[in-house]
Point group: none
Amino acid sequence: MTRVLVVDDEPQILRALRINLRARGYEVDVAADGESALRLAARDHPDVVVLDLGLPGIDGIEVIEGLRGWTSVPIIVLSVRDREADKVAALDAGADDYVTKPFGMDELLARMRAALRRVTPADEPVLIETPDFTIDLAARRVTRAGEEVRLTATEWHILEVLVRNAGRLVTQRQLLQAVWGPKYETETHYLRVYVGQLRRKLEPVPSEPRYFLTAARMGYRFEPEAP
Amino acid sequence: MTRVLVVDDEPQILRALRINLRARGYEVDVAADGESALRLAARDHPDVVVLDLGLPGIDGIEVIEGLRGWTSVPIIVLSVRDREADKVAALDAGADDYVTKPFGMDELLARMRAALRRVTPADEPVLIETPDFTIDLAARRVTRAGEEVRLTATEWHILEVLVRNAGRLVTQRQLLQAVWGPKYETETHYLRVYVGQLRRKLEPVPSEPRYFLTAARMGYRFEPEAP
DNA sequence: GCCTCCGCGTACAGATTGTGTAAGGAAGCC
DNA sequence: GGCTTCCTTACACAATCTGTACGCGGAGGC
């Protein structure tokens, strides 16, 4: 089922969108400000985000940047601002589309379909195999020596972000933002605890990590292949 | 180099687009009708297509369908028609974006960048190779003779600034400002220490730098190729 | 040609900060 | 109530950063 995260501070628009999208068979998350948007996105992993730019609190552009730190989910921006500079800023920050209010529901739906169509065929590898364990992203399952490894929700969340960025460094900020939300950007000790648990469950020698590598003062990196 | 196929039957728009896109470093193909568009696309495999809907001969929608038969190249539709039904039809036929004429060149360029970004995911391996070592900016990793070279956060930061300005001189002020912040503009000796460490870790003969060159009283320069 | 001065590179050590691990309390679920 | 999971704190250890000292060499003045 396709999940949409709708972010807008105007209740009637939020309501209209929710009703329309539900009627079309989408599962709908709603948020009225940037912080909840980032938190919900981190928790629910929507397939597409519809984002109003004129938010209270965190700026819409910052929400785009926050999301882009860890996910490539399509972002469709809604905005009353019709100035070219605004569009360029949003698109260059990482938005996929920019629709000016007032907009037609059919157009928005068509743009959503277009955005979703692009994502689906590019099905990322769902199975990640290493010499020591196998990760099935679709089934949310990790197998080690034939046995299933039980992971908690938080452990899985961290694993997922790292694995989806395999080979790349993920900064502590990105991880914290993705898993706990933007307010926790400084709580780096959470990461230490949970990365440590992942290592204990998955690394052949937890004290000498081979897959979940630390880059001091920067972040962590998942390295799927034995070096 | 990025190749753009522009399809429009109005000569002045075609001309304006060609000039603007060339000026931005794109390679530009042009076509004035649907048939040439399909032919050129097949021949040249553009990275993005900018397509006017109001074409003589084959309908614009048919061009989209024709392209979608064999390629997923991003298609940005231009059109004078602002009716929602037209947008929906084009998007559902396979277009990625729909821009109503008259449009701003900056907006179109931003939408092109957004479309291109999706195709070439931002995580394209940003690899800088020299005869002696390889830098992977995404992974934050340096490999030398097959072995990973461990760099500290500060070392990385300096390396990154230098590498992103490869071949150009980076002033001491720029470096200090980028790595330590504007308050440290005068602490040039920090640079000496850390550039020295980079040389020790990466230069074949640290005392005779070949990649990390000093420009006395000015700054440093990274030279990726052996002279 | 000699001397001085300034900037550069290196070495090193104390202070600071980051990291990994263990463990306990709170909250939720069966 | 027992179990699991999450959040939080504490602590030891290690790595990194910061700051000082010193030797070297080239540019320019004399």
